[in-house]
């Protein structure tokens, strides 16, 4: 079952194995420059093709932290309408992603439990490149309100 992002998600509504609404991105070079300014990461491999090639890359690559933030947006857009929040989210940068390519952010619920009075949901999260490879796998824990 895939819920729509407009839904308010409550703890009672979710189950292990459920996929959350995916978020499709297609970062432009302009967006990478916006990210450089917003994050303060001015490393040239993210906007200067010649510099990137000189370090052995095939061209400019998407910032790892931007992919982390994209996955954060997927989680935020899922939990925030009902007043839920993100407790933890972490990823590894396993593969390069390039601008002007579709990147799909996805998440699947792996565990649902209560701890210290909080309704917690663990997820596997990842970004997928156009070839279907998981370039940014990780995990997250969110807190969901009860109905």
């Amino acid at each position: 079952m895939v819920t729509t992002a407009a839904n308010k998600v409550y703890f009672e509504d979710v189950q292990e194995g459920q996929e959350i609404p995916k978020l499709v991105k297609n970062p432009s070079t302009q967006q990478l420059v916006q990210w450089a300014a917003g994050s303060g990461d001015f490393y040239q491999i993210h906007y200067d093709p010649e510099f990137a090639k000189a370090t052995g890359l095939t061209g400019i690559i998407v910032h790892g932290a931007l992919k982390h933030a994209f996955l954060g947006q997927m989680l935020w857009d899922w939990v925030a309408p009902s007043g839920g929040r993100i407790k933890k989210f972490g990823v590894s940068y396993r593969g390069m992603d390039y601008p002007a390519q579709e990147m799909t952010c996805r998440g699947v619920i792996t565990r649902k439990y209560q701890e210290d009075g909080e309704n917690l949901v663990d997820l596997d999260i990842w970004t997928e490149n156009p070839q279907g490879q998981k370039t940014t796998p990780g995990t997250a824990t969110v807190i969901l309100p009860s109905r």
Partner: protein
């Protein structure tokens, strides 16, 4: 580097040494810039009245945003990408990649907050992969707000190769 790379004593000594604290700030403009760069359409990151209506003190920090270091060309405080614990060591590798990021939120963070950051190298280890010989550094930073409350812990992995 033909021979197998091993940690130097200088590197081993750097593990666990906490940095001098430094301050990062969050203001509304920076929150909007970050949210816009990610592509958020949720008005909570742009409209303070909406943020307050939804129970936030001001614009909330978007996931992944933990403030902006205070830039001052005359200061030597660490900036972004330079938060590697409290001790320097000579590094034989020229190239660097971001290996991973994990953020754990303990409290809420909003525009108007100033956070005190303390960083340390939690782990250093040699590795060999598709990039050849590598040095994997795991940094851990704690973020305390202006009331002294721990609000976030960030663990970052840096790959030197």
């Amino acid at each position: 580097m033909a021979e197998e790379f091993q940690l130097t004593q200088e590197m081993k000594d750097a593990i666990g040494v906490e940095s001098e604290p430094h301050t990062v700030e969050l203001d509304k403009t920076a929150v909007r810039m970050f949210a816009r760069a990610v592509g958020y359409t949720d008005p909570v990151f742009y409209d303070e009245a909406e943020a307050k209506r939804r129970g936030f003190r001001s614009l909330p920090a978007p996931p992944g945003y933990l403030g902006t270091p205070i830039f001052n060309p005359r200061a030597t405080a660490p900036g972004v990408g330079d938060q590697q614990g409290g001790r320097r060591f000579s590094n034989p590798f020229k190239r660097v990649l971001n290996g991973g990021t994990e953020i754990e939120y303990v409290g809420d963070i909003c525009a108007g907050d100033a956070l005190t950051v303390r960083s340390k190298i939690a782990d250093l280890k040699p590795a060999r992969g598709s990039l050849g010989q590598m040095l994997i550094t795991t940094n851990e930073s704690t973020y305390h707000n202006q009331d002294g409350k721990l609000v976030a812990i960030m663990r970052g992995t840096i790959i030197n190769y």
